[in-house]
């Protein structure tokens, strides 16, 4: 059978180990999960360093909120990564210029490193809020069924029908306007992440609802009820832990969405509406601004590094997390646990 290059495992029928615990150490032994986990950990460490020891970037103390702190000298021409740093670049550590400079003479390497804080932070925030809200709504709806389910799911249908980008932009416009009217100072990024959360959570609700409905049908819920367990205990002890795996897989799919959304905002020239600066330390912003500089020249692209390097960093994290999610899914899928 190995000559087919495919092993048909007995799977589901051989090791009926529903509910057996999956340890983190076991997951780390899976190559795919490990690779993705290392990438995610690396990005998160850099993001945390932006808060803990921000002076490592060589631009003074305090969190970087504007890329202008990296501008040295007056050269606004993007300089390629292949050039040796010279007096033209102005002062600043030499390592800043290893990946070249981008618009207004901003060195790319420290710009990307400082963007990890916003990108990883807001991605984490959006994904956490939307998955938790969705999980709560979905499990309640799937567990209790009946009228609760009908009402909640009609609401989710309405939310899901709203187109993703238009909704997110529309909701954030609403928030910005009402905050401006009430003279409350606001951060455009907070508004955007609330809007993204609202437009993402129905998907999580749908997913956890269908998982819950499958769990609800199993014998062990009946057994728990017979054993005197109440609904709250059932939900937290049996339903949510088992509904978590499809939710985690969906999380890995959504990791790039915050950065992509920010890049679309910047690219469609809507950043002024949300009070976002051209110098926001964010990968999406770097991609959008840099992409305006790229031009075709005979035999290649001019200034390609201004946008291709941030895209590379984005691709690495998204591919890494997706591979991690795949590894996780294979591990959580009982039928294929030891394939």
């Amino acid at each position: 059978m190995s000559s087919l290059g495919l092993s048909y495992k007995a799977g589901k029928y051989e090791n009926e180990t529903v509910g057996s615990k999956l340890s983190f150490a076991m997951l780390l032994k899976k190559k795919r999960f490990l690779a993705g986990f290392i990438i995610l950990l690396g990005y998160s460490i850099i993001a945390m360093m932006d808060v803990a020891v921000p002076e490592y970037l060589g631009a003074g103390y305090g969190l970087i909120t504007q890329l202008t702190v990296f501008i040295r000298g007056t050269s606004t021409v993007p300089l390629p990564p292949t050039l040796k740093p010279s007096i033209l670049y102005g002062s600043g550590p030499v390592w800043w210029y290893y990946l070249g400079t981008t618009y207004d003479g901003i060195p790319i390497l420290p710009a990307i490193l400082s963007s990890m804080y916003i990108d990883m932070g807001y991605t984490g925030l959006v994904v956490f809020l939307s998955s938790m809200t969705g999980l709560l709504v979905g499990t309640l709806s799937g567990y209790f069924g009946g009228i609760v389910d009908e009402v909640l799911m009609r609401f989710m249908d309405a939310f899901i029908s709203l187109p993703f980008y238009v909704t997110a932009i529309g909701i954030s416009l609403l928030f910005s306007i009402s905050l401006q009217i009430n003279n409350i100072p606001f951060d455009g990024l907070d508004v955007l992440s609330i809007a993204l959360t609202i437009s993402l959570f129905p998907v999580y609700a749908r997913i956890s609802r269908s998982a819950t409905m499958n769990i609800r049908k199993t014998r062990y819920i009946d057994a728990a009820i017979t054993g005197g367990s109440n609904h709250i205990k059932n939900l937290f002890q049996h339903v949510i832990p088992n509904a978590l795996s499809p939710v985690i897989i969906q999380i890995t799919l959504n990791v790039g969405s915050v950065i992509l959304f920010l890049s679309f905002i910047e690219y469609l020239n809507l950043q002024n509406v949300f009070g976002l600066s051209k110098f926001l330390p964010d990968m999406g912003n770097l991609i959008a601004q840099g992409s305006l500089m790229v031009q075709p020249v005979p035999g290649g692209f001019s200034d390609w590094w201004t946008t291709a390097i941030p895209v590379l960093f984005l691709v690495i994290i998204v591919v890494g997390v997706n591979i991690m999610g795949d590894g996780l899914r294979d591990a959580l899928d009982i039928g294929r646990r030891d394939v």
């Binding site: 029908s161 709203l162 909701i171 469609l268 790229v294 591919v319 591979i323």
Partner: protein, 336 residues
């Protein structure tokens, strides 16, 4: 359940969803709507506007006029792109997903998944830039492609190539507003070729960014089937690998993907915003960007934006309904 009864019950279920959708739309766009007073009062005046057929006026540089005429003008263009993208995505995605699912956890599996994930991670405007500069009509690597010194066209839909057609007066005026279809129906194959060439790069850019989703679903379906009891039974009966894949895995493994295809189409109909903006294609996405960037405090375009969101919502609901119907007809398990 009878099919007609099923359709009727689904249609009835749409009505409360539509009302909730209008409530949400109103809630999110209230500051831009020409309504005054309390929330409830405002909502009812918004509803009365909709029921009276007043969907607002679009006032942008691109289009000025009633919302309905704007939609009839720009939606077909988006429909054409969405249809072609769906076809291309399925043509590439189904064989690729089957192949990947079949070569479970070997190097072609890893490689193709990493590549499709990478395209999924790239912003679609970035893919467009690369495609434009590589195959586009300016100086690129393949500038000699498709006739003469210029490469593939990268701007508009090709209306400027048809100045002598009596049925074309401006940039969006062919009968169905789908230039490719119209010129085919008109028997003008030169213009059809030109119109198709204009669609190649936008469609390929959208396809590349959508591919990962469909490949993931097809792969999952195939892999689930190859772990199933029926497949195992076939292996034990001594059938060869190819016939197992063709007869057992493929047919059953494609079921779950039916859901995602409908949603993908709905997403494309509302979500080709960036691509249309990038290639200056006069579609609904470009119109949406124009409407959003022309919103202001005197409530221009506000009602039109709300109607647009409602329109997108209805498209999603129709797509969902179509998906459920197809699923219902394909899968006997749902029918009980």
């Amino acid at each position: 359940m009878d099919l007609r009864l099923y359709i009727a019950s689904r249609l009835v279920a749409i009505i409360p969803t539509l009302f909730l959708l209008s409530l949400l739309t109103f809630f999110f766009s209230k500051p831009y709507l020409p309504v005054y007073g309390s929330f409830l009062h405002g909502y009812f005046s918004y509803l009365s506007m909709i029921f009276h057929g007043n969907f607002g006026i679009i006032n942008t540089a691109m289009f000025k006029g009633q919302f309905i005429s704007g939609i009839t003008l720009y939606f077909p263009v988006t429909l054409e792109i969405a249809t072609l993208t769906s076809i291309l995505t399925l043509l590439i995605g189904i064989p690729l997903g089957t192949y990947i699912g079949d070569s479970n956890n070997r190097s072609p599996d890893y490689l193709s998944r990493i590549i499709t994930f990478a395209f999924y991670a790239m912003p679609v405007f970035w893919i467009s830039i690369i495609l434009e500069f590589t195959f586009g009509s300016r100086i690129g690597f393949f500038s000699g492609l498709f006739g003469g010194s210029s490469g593939l066209p990268v701007c508009g839909q090709g209306y400027s190539s048809a100045p002598n057609m009596p049925w074309i007066t401006n940039d969006i005026s062919s009968p169905t507003h789908m230039l490719f279809l119209d010129s085919l129906l008109h028997g003008d194959f030169t213009l059809a070729y030109i119109a198709l060439l204009h669609l190649v790069i936008p469609v390929v850019a959208l396809t590349l960014s959508m591919l990962s989703i469909i490949v993931r679903y097809i792969r999952g379906g195939i892999m689930d089937r190859s772990n199933s009891a029926s497949t195992r039974n076939a292996v034990e009966r001594g059938l060869n690998h190819r016939s197992i894949t063709a007869n057992y895995s493929m047919r059953n493994g494609y079921f779950p993907s039916a859901t995602i295809i409908g949603l993908m189409m709905a997403y494309l109909l509302s979500g080709s915003l960036v691509v249309e903006y990038f290639f200056r294609i006069n579609g609904l996405g470009f119109l949406t960007v124009e409407i959003i960037s022309n919103l202001n405090s005197i409530k221009t375009n506000g009602l039109a934006l709300a109607s647009l969101v409602l329109f997108f919502g209805i498209i999603f609901m129709i797509a969902n309904l179509a998906v459920d119907l197809v699923y219902y007809m394909l899968n006997p398990e749902v029918r009980v």
